[in-house]
């Protein structure tokens, strides 16, 4: 749709953080939404390196974009970038996470990662009932996102669920599979596993199946494949946290805020625990590429 | 001398007006030579005359700028090493080229490992290799690692390899340069045997008597041009020297001033594994002492220990009364001890650095210079380069671009230009030409005359006779005999080196 949104077409810069599936889907959503809104979009990828992220933001600034949408590699590393952008008169809009001081940013669409972990913990607590059970955690790569997820999960567990293992899967499917193989070995009576994203969860599933163990996996994302796995019981539950919603909301809100319109400055991506029973409630995770 | 020369014979290789330049300067100019089967053709000339360059062209390692190369009547443009081999040219280059990490057996069979199916027949590898060595009268262990051998042994292995491969032409670039008298004789015998079986041999050596004894035909190069070519019978030593150098060269033992009684270098009870067993030696200031031994590597080992490169198991070394710390090179250098190593490629020079830098390498470190001034470097290196007559095509090229003999001169300049108080010389004239050899000998004489203690290890009996005052014979790591040089003859000396005492 080439609907002209006035003569003042905006140019947005989008700095993505990495090349995982989540980031791919986020980018697709941003690109699609920018097109709908008639905004010009410039993208870059930081490949999980804070240094590259700063380079990308600097490059965007020198290209004089109207606003920057940043899926940051690391939120605290962003302060300098924000100052920089601000002094160049370019506002920054954040996705997924926000800085503690939000006064300098244009706005944000955040995901309450702690709550995501807590939702999964809630499922485990309900499912386990009063039984004494063992749970394992396959975290992501060291960093705030993974820590928030894992922290949210562990903190919300009831006392009868004991976390017996917690190992990093580095947000990498192969690594997660190795870790799961070793974990089920050390803890054969494991009943639940919290895995920090679905990509890793599939690796863990592969490992648990190979070991002939029925470990209930709770995870997060809500990709089509993840939902399918929930549907046929391979995953017990997932927390839908749509990259598409985040991306679309980010572009929409950024443009609105830029044009001094009214939008929620710090918006939340809706998250929802998805089990077999409420599969239909899950939002679309990824647009077609 | 037998000669198998007939003028009607067809050439195996015909080199016609070949020119080759490096970076604009000619190493060979209009060189024409014919090689005949069943003939030993010697190539002579001073260091840097272009001999090895011609060899490299014949072996396909270099391509000439102009001129033609005919092998067996066919013009060969753009000859490469494989083709050269295919048309029957085998080469033992001047630089020792073995795969140092492999065994002797594998080196000899390199590229032609006997296989059944795709599998290597190791028994056959060893046997064929051993046979090839035995045919030359060499008893090197076929299972030894090539890198563990001495340079002389490596040469023998290389010759054995090339001979085993056969071919119509065998090129030997200074095969006898660092060989002892007996090993050199083995090579010469072999050359004659091969010649008689119809192989054309290109032989390079700086030993004129050797060449006159061996060669049927001689070509002399000077500054890359042929200055004389003809039958060996048509010339003599004096004539050859004139054609090579352009003047006469005389080298005679000088009458040196009486030696002082001060000990310059003293070795007491030196032990090192099976190489040295309580070895003693004193070298007085102004004296030149030669260490001789059949093994060849006892000397290298001794030199390694004295220079500090390797720690000895026990004993004491002092220079001018000062005791050296075991295994400490800087200490040994500070005492004034200098070691001209035999293996110049491995232990002598640094590739990549220029001539000047190599020449001044040791001196600058002894002077503890902190700042490196290039113009000063050139100025300080100049007299040394001149004194040792280092010849190069370019002004100051990286040292590896020099001809073999000139590299040797750089090595000598590097060490002897540093005001030594005691000097270890290991084959100091390895690969240098007649005139340079005479000059180096008189330089060593002069050093001794200035009161330097000189310890010499040389594969050449002539050199020992020419330089040394005293000869110490080592066997099984022990000193078994000692002679004043003026009391024995050259033949007795050779006999001593080969086995037991007189």
């Amino acid at each position: 749709g080439e609907e002209a949104s006035g003569s003042d077409s905006v140019t947005l810069g989008f700095v993505n953080g990495a090349n995982t599936e989540f980031h791919t889907c986020l980018q697709r959503a941003v690109e699609a939404e920018a097109k709908t809104e008639g905004a010009e979009l410039i993208t870059a990828n930081s490949k999980q390196d804070p240094g590259t992220e700063l380079n990308n933001i600097e490059d965007m600034i020198s290209r004089n974009v109207d606003a920057l949408i940043v899926q940051t590699v690391n939120v605290d590393a962003l302060k300098n970038d924000i100052t920089k952008a601000k002094s160049a008169g370019i506002p920054i809009f954040l996705t997924s996470v926000i800085t503690s001081d939000t006064s300098d940013i244009l706005g944000a669409v955040v995901v309450d990662l702690k709550q995501v972990g807590a939702l999964d913990a809630g499922y485990v607590a309900k499912d386990a009932g009063d039984a004494q059970v063992e749970a394992g955690i396959i975290a992501g790569a060291p960093g705030a996102a993974s820590d928030l997820l894992v922290g949210g999960f562990s903190d919300a567990l009831p006392p009868n669920v004991s976390v017996v293992a917690n190992q990093p899967g580095m947000f990498n499917r192969a690594k997660a599979q190795d870790v799961a193989e070793n974990m089920i070995q050390a803890h054969p009576s494991l009943q639940y596993a919290f895995v920090a994203n679905e990509e890793m969860a599939f690796g863990a599933l592969q490992a648990f199946q190979a070991a002939g163990k029925n470990v209930k996996i709770v995870t997060t994302n809500g990709t089509d494949e993840g939902l399918a796995a929930v549907k046929d019981g391979r995953f017990a539950a997932t927390v839908a946290n749509s990259a598409t919603v985040t991306g679309q909301l980010a572009v929409k809100n950024a443009i609105t805020l830029l044009n001094k319109g009214t939008a929620e400055r710090i918006a939340n991506t809706p998250i929802k625990l998805i089990t077999k029973d409420n599969l239909a409630d899950a939002p679309q995770y990824c647009l077609e590429g | 001398m037998t000669t198998a020369v007939t003028t009607a014979m067809t050439t195996v290789i015909r080199v016609d007006r070949i020119t080759k330049s490096f970076g604009g300067a000619a190493a060979l100019t209009d060189v024409s030579v014919d090689f005949f089967p069943g003939e030993v053709h010697a190539l002579m000339g001073m260091n840097g005359a272009g001999k090895s360059t011609l060899v490299q062209i014949l072996s396909g390692a270099l391509n000439p700028d102009s001129g033609t190369l005919e092998v067996g009547g066919l013009v060969q443009n753009q000859l490469n090493p494989r083709q050269a081999r295919k048309v029957g040219i085998s080469t033992v280059p001047q630089r020792r080229e073995l795969v140092m990490s492999l065994t002797v057996a594998e080196n000899i069979m390199l590229g032609q490992l006997p296989t059944s199916g795709a599998m290597v027949r190791w028994h056959s590898v060893r046997e064929t290799a051993q046979e090839a060595l035995r045919a030359l009268g060499i008893t090197i262990d076929a299972d030894a690692i090539a890198g563990d051998l001495t340079v002389a042994e490596q040469t023998m292995v290389e010759v054995a390899r090339e001979v085993r491969r056969g071919g119509k032409v065998l090129i030997l670039d200074e095969p006898t340069a660092c060989l002892g008298p007996e090993a050199a004789q083995q090579i010469r015998d072999l050359v004659l045997r091969l010649r008689d079986s119809g192989v054309a041999i290109l032989f390079i050596s700086h030993h004129i008597s050797e060449v006159l004894h061996l060669a049927d035909r001689i070509t002399v190069l000077r500054d890359g041009r042929v200055t004389w070519a003809g039958l060996a019978t048509e010339t003599d030593e004096k004539g050859l020297v004139r054609d090579m150098v352009g003047r006469d060269v005389v080298s005679r033992r000088p009458v040196r001033p009486a030696r002082s009684n001060e000990v310059g270098l003293s070795v007491r009870g030196l032990c090192d594994g099976r190489f040295l067993d309580c070895f003693d030696i004193d070298v007085r200031r102004g004296e030149i002492v030669a260490v001789l031994g059949p093994a060849g590597d006892a000397q290298s080992r001794l030199f390694d220990l004295l220079s500090g490169r390797r720690r000895f198991d026990g004993g004491q070394v002092s220079v001018a009364g000062k005791k050296l710390k075991n295994g400490k090179i800087t200490d040994s250098l500070a005492s004034g001890l200098r070691c001209v190593t035999g293996d110049r490629r491995r232990l002598g020079l640094i590739p990549g650095l220029t001539i000047d830098e190599n020449v001044m390498l040791a001196q600058d470190r002894l002077d503890k210079r902190r700042i490196h001034r290039w113009s000063l470097l050139t100025r300080r290196a100049k007299p040394l380069r001149e004194r040792y007559r280092v010849v190069s095509l370019a002004e100051n090229p990286p040292v590896e671009q020099l001809s073999g003999g000139n590299q040797q001169k750089v090595l000598l300049a590097k060490w002897l230009g540093t005001a030594p108080s005691a000097v270890l010389l290991e084959d100091p004239t390895n690969g240098v030409d007649v005139s340079a050899m005479a000059e180096i000998h008189s330089l060593v004489d002069r050093l001794a005359g200035e009161g330097v203690a000189v310890l010499l290890a040389s594969s050449s009996a002539e050199e020992v006779m020419r330089l040394a005052d005293r000869v110490v014979v080592v066997r099984d790591g022990r000193r078994i005999a000692e002679y004043q040089v003026d009391r024995i003859t050259r033949d007795e000396l050779i006999a001593t080196t080969l086995g037991g005492a007189l």
């Binding site: 791919t24 | 080229e97 795969v99 990490s101 042994e153 086995g499």
Partner: protein, 320 residues
Amino acid sequence: MSAVATLTRPVRVGKIPHAGLLLVLVGIIVFASVRTDSFLNTNNLLNVARQVSVVAVIAAGLTLLMVAGGMDFSMGGNVAVTTAVAAQMLSHGYATWLTLVTAIGLSIAVGLVNGAVVTFTNVAPFVATLATATLLDGVALLVINGMSISIDEHLSGLGSGTTFGLPNLVFVAAAVLAVVAFVMRYTSFGRDAFAIGGNEDVARLSGITVSRDKLVLYGLAGALSGLAGIMLLSRLAASSPGTGGLQLQLTAVAAVVIGGTSLAGGKGTIGGTILGVLLLGVVANVLNLLQISSYYQQISVGAVLLIAAIANLLQSSRKR
């Protein structure tokens, strides 16, 4: 005529090759067995074997290549591309055999390109293959379009199947290691590789077809990357961003060099490489079993690598 002195070397003491490395490995195994029961559990050992099999195949190819003085830093990237292409093909319904042929063919082509660059332009192998590694990582992402591509049960026979109680992957890896070891020791191609690595000029002058051999060696490294890619895909049942790539490459390189293969060429054994691969695999497993936290895991791996490298060397530095 008296003989040129033969240097008789002292009879070689019945030295165990790689004794230092072996010692470190055994030490870790003993430590792990004492600290956790799960380690010596059959299932766990099978896990380790399965986990290391992919790295082992890459390391085998790398060992042979490095012995010949080569280096392929792009094998991890090649794995990434192979898994990506194979996953796409399988998920689009292509036949398994066609997929395998295409994927392996592609990986050989990549290897040959590396080989051609190294052989014909004289660019240092490390530089050339570091460049292709970057390139291939990009290609892999492009092929899967940044998403996870699942292959369902397509290769599960290879990835999860067992024969005589042993994982099929382990058989594949063992076969590759055995063949490469045999090639290195008993074929003229393998011996020529040692010669090329030891002194390329001499090898060439001796009539060894150095350029052709190098091409073949790089092609072989490519082929084994392809095989490793298929193995990895069969194990993971999906290709996703970050599969293979630099991390896998570095693990393989570390295993090979820890195993005593020289970066300068001319020296190396499959035995050492196997020990290196096992060491890294066992350490990763033990760290997981012992519940070592993520940061200490990396520190431990680094420390073990360092100790192993030093141990392997102290033992082999013979006094001549």
